[in-house]
Symmetry: C2
Subunit: 504 residues, 2 copies
């Protein structure tokens, strides 16, 4: 069929196996060095100005390719000093975002194979591994079988809780609108607590729920900042009486601010009674359910949930991103999110008959394209096993207990809310500031700024009942007891300085 | 401060640098071997049954960790044979999903550093690199400066076009509802062609646009299956007259089915006149704009666009996932998608004053958490340079031209729509079947099944004007002229067999 045309570009061989291996080995060494040295960086460089990196880099991409060594040198010189080092063992901010050797290996397989399991046919083993691994996870965490494929439900790996919330809100909304007509969208109401993650409100907004139909139920210290089911019931009944349609209730196991736990069973009963979708967001604390001693929070009432989500990418040694979403009714999800254009019609979806159904995961999420996340989570579960993952969780809980006791034993401090997992919320409360809330907040802000300013640790804050609270979220893959002891030493030293400055 | 408590789990060291390096090097070798051998696998195993992998794997996660070698051996034995091999040089289905040594290296850096640039402060250099790299990309593709940070707009890296569509639809919707009130959501209308990707309809549904307000404008061979601006204008005027609110128009440069190009400038003028948001989806063909000879499709009229998206993860050597989204009004996007809970308040966002603003990318996307995709795209641009990327694109376009000519020169076949990029749409059209459309379709279905059944290539189909069409989407990182010549030989041989069977 004719000769090869002249091809000036035959030198482009972007997947040459030897060149690939050479470059990739160099990056592995670069990262190993980074992990060896990560505790030498300021956890968060305190003196950065927005725009610093932009000034260092050229205004446009290079015309010609550059050697990997130069790229890595630029990462070392220009980028690393400007990062906040989430893998530092002294990173205690937000929630942990675990990296691990197994998570990395799994992600490398995902990225290297680079298959796209949006349809079963588009990569059968990738889609099926996902069904296997979400069942494995559900069993490990003690979820009821109705949320697992093996029990008639099913799961999917998404990128974030936000995605999971948007998908389940869409499913709940369309289930309601199918009965009521689309104009009822103006009447749909969703419920959460004042501790629920902001992503829920954003998700509700994205799917078109009127912002004025977003009910925020107050919590208090009396319920440990959990969402009181009685208050939800009152709100729901009031809305129903006013002609609104209660749609969706979001319960959280391990809130972002304080690690609070909502009473899933009681909330589930309210949801059932009013035909609402109950979603349980266990983004952070869901990982702890791998340990029997933490399982009840998620398990008690989970059989009333329409959906449950948790993030192995937080505290479960699975590099970002990976969010497990389980649903009791897979049809509710897929009937809201399915599309069936001609260019995606394929054997798997059209000839299953009474054989096991092929899963087309495009109908379980927002996007069509997706990554082979299942292999990452599968490698993590294989490499560490349930026992290793329990040990990982317990190591941090042990450290958090120790820290909580240390804080409680220091009369200058107080623990603001009893710790449940590995998040400790505390503040300075010098006795001479009793009654002076503004000054007390100022002292705590100053303490946090002073500690973070050293670069030797990074923590973030929260405000509850008007009080400024410091959060120590323990969970880094390299974080162990010594780092927690060190940060307590640091906190005590800076507390001395701040209190002295305020003459307290 | 007391002694270390007993910690039975001190053996869990998931980021030990030496163990990390050892495992990661092993995975690199595994993948290099995979790339060496990928053309020995059937591109798509034709005889797989749904449920095969599930039967091979245990029902639950192991209690104890297992060696990496065992895991990799299971990947080799159980998983690889069940994959569709998107990196095979003979994968011509859907659109390409490029892997490359640089894309992999960049993703390794992203995954290894595992920082989360949702806020500027949460990893300043990561957020800033993203602003730099989206400007680099925009300049490379010839986008107008109003879509770049350097010209008052800005960009973000998301996971998929679907996400970009949901975000921009939300922005457009909320801009309209801010004026009209939320009840106007029932009146909002969106427009696309019958060739627009199904993800647009799904996105519109997710954000709460009534499905009955989704207008599908027919295309035809006369316009090369591009969306006729005149027909859009008629539809928009009819809707406006009927009290609807024209909201959003999606134009595509390089449709999924046929690679058609909508007339962006003319559509932009209609959109402007009626106050609609114009989004340009260049998911696949946007990559070609790196070459001046393909730039006009995207460039001509792009200054009228409110947003443009394209996927470096398709044909731009950037491993999945990576979608560039540029917007002219960053405020429209962020005012629809921003949240500002207490636990995310931080220095960068509150003290910029008249310094360069810090970008909090959480307000540019659906999710809060996100990956450091910028470093991946940056490594690709650095390693290959504009010249290398042009050569990559031209190599495939050259091969597509050759294939198109070969098809046209064979009287048994026809090219269904003139090729613009690297997608060739063709079919068997034996003269004796003239007028017998059903039989002609059957012959083509059979040809596609026969070719895919060999495992030596994988293509997918499309249906246009009722005709079954075979798509050859050229673009794999390892695909070169020889593979295209081979698939043409294969097609000719199978065509002989099929036509003989039908006695044609």
């Amino acid at each position: 069929m004719g000769s090869l045309p002249l091809d000036a570009s035959s030198s482009v061989r972007p997947l040459d196996p030897e060149a690939f291996a050479g470059d990739s080995h160099a990056v592995v060494e670069f990262l190993a060095e980074y992990y060896r040295d990560v505790d030498k960086f300021p956890v968060r460089a305190a003196d950065l100005e927005p725009g610093r990196l932009r000034k260092l880099l050229p205004n446009s991409a290079p015309e010609h390719g550059e050697p990997l060594e130069e790229v890595l040198e630029d990462v070392r010189r220009d980028i690393l000093p400007g990062l906040t080092h989430w893998q530092s063992p002294s990173f205690f901010a937000y929630f942990p975002m675990n990296a691990s050797a197994a998570g990395f290996a799994g992600e490398m397989l995902s990225v290297g194979l680079n298959v796209v399991p949006f349809l079963w046919a588009a990569s059968p083993a990738a889609a099926e591994l996902e069904t296997v691994v979400v069942d494995w996870m559900g069993k490990l965490l003690g979820l009821p079988s109705r949320l697992l494929f093996s029990g008639g439900g099913g799961g999917v790996l998404q990128g974030s809780t936000c995605e999971a919330v948007v998908c389940t809100l869409t499913a709940a909304r369309d289930r309601a609108l199918a009965k009521l007509g689309h104009e009822a969208i103006l009447k749909l109401v969703v419920y959460a607590s004042d501790q629920t993650h902001a992503t829920f409100q954003k998700g509700a907004r994205i799917v078109g729920i009127p912002p004025s139909n977003f009910r925020v139920i107050p919590t208090s210290a009396a319920s440990g900042y959990g969402l009181p089911a009685g208050a939800v019931r009152v709100a729901v009944e009031r809305d129903a009486a006013a002609g609104f349609v209660p749609l969706y209730l979001c319960a959280t196991v391990g809130t972002t601010g304080l690690g609070a736990v909502d009473p899933v069973r009681e909330l589930g009963e309210v949801a059932r009674r009013h035909g609402m979708w109950l979603h349980v967001d266990a983004a952070y604390a869901g990982s702890a359910a791998v340990c029997p001693e933490f399982r009840e929070y998620l398990q008690d009432g989970a059989e009333l949930a329409d959906s449950v989500s948790m993030n192995p990418h937080k505290w479960f040694l699975t590099n970002n991103d990976c969010c497990c979403l389980w649903v009791a009714s897979t049809a509710a999800l897929t009937s809201a999110l399915s599309t069936d254009p001609e260019y995606l019609k394929n054997v798997g979806t059209t000839t299953t008959g009474n054989k096991p159904a092929a899963i087309d995961y495009k109908d379980w999420q927002i996007s069509l394209s997706r990554r082979f996340r299942a292999i990452k989570l599968w490698v993590v579960l294989r490499r560490y096993g349930a026992a290793g993952l329990r040990a990982h969780i317990r190591r941090h809980v042990t450290a958090a207990k120790w820290f909580e006791r240390a804080v409680a034993a220091d009369e200058r401090f107080e623990v603001v809310v009893p710790r449940k997992f590995s998040l400790v919320c505390f503040r300075l409360r010098p006795s001479r500031l009793a009654g002076n809330d503004a000054m007390n907040d100022a002292v705590n802000r100053e303490l946090l700024t002073a500690v973070n300013g050293t670069g030797r640790a990074f923590m973030t804050h929260f405000v509850v009942d008007g009080k400024f609270v410091i959060r120590l979220a323990i969970g880094g893959a390299m974080t162990d007891m010594q780092h927690v002891m060190d940060v307590w030493d640091l906190l005590q030293g800076k507390a001395d300085e701040v209190l002295q400055r305020y003459q307290l």
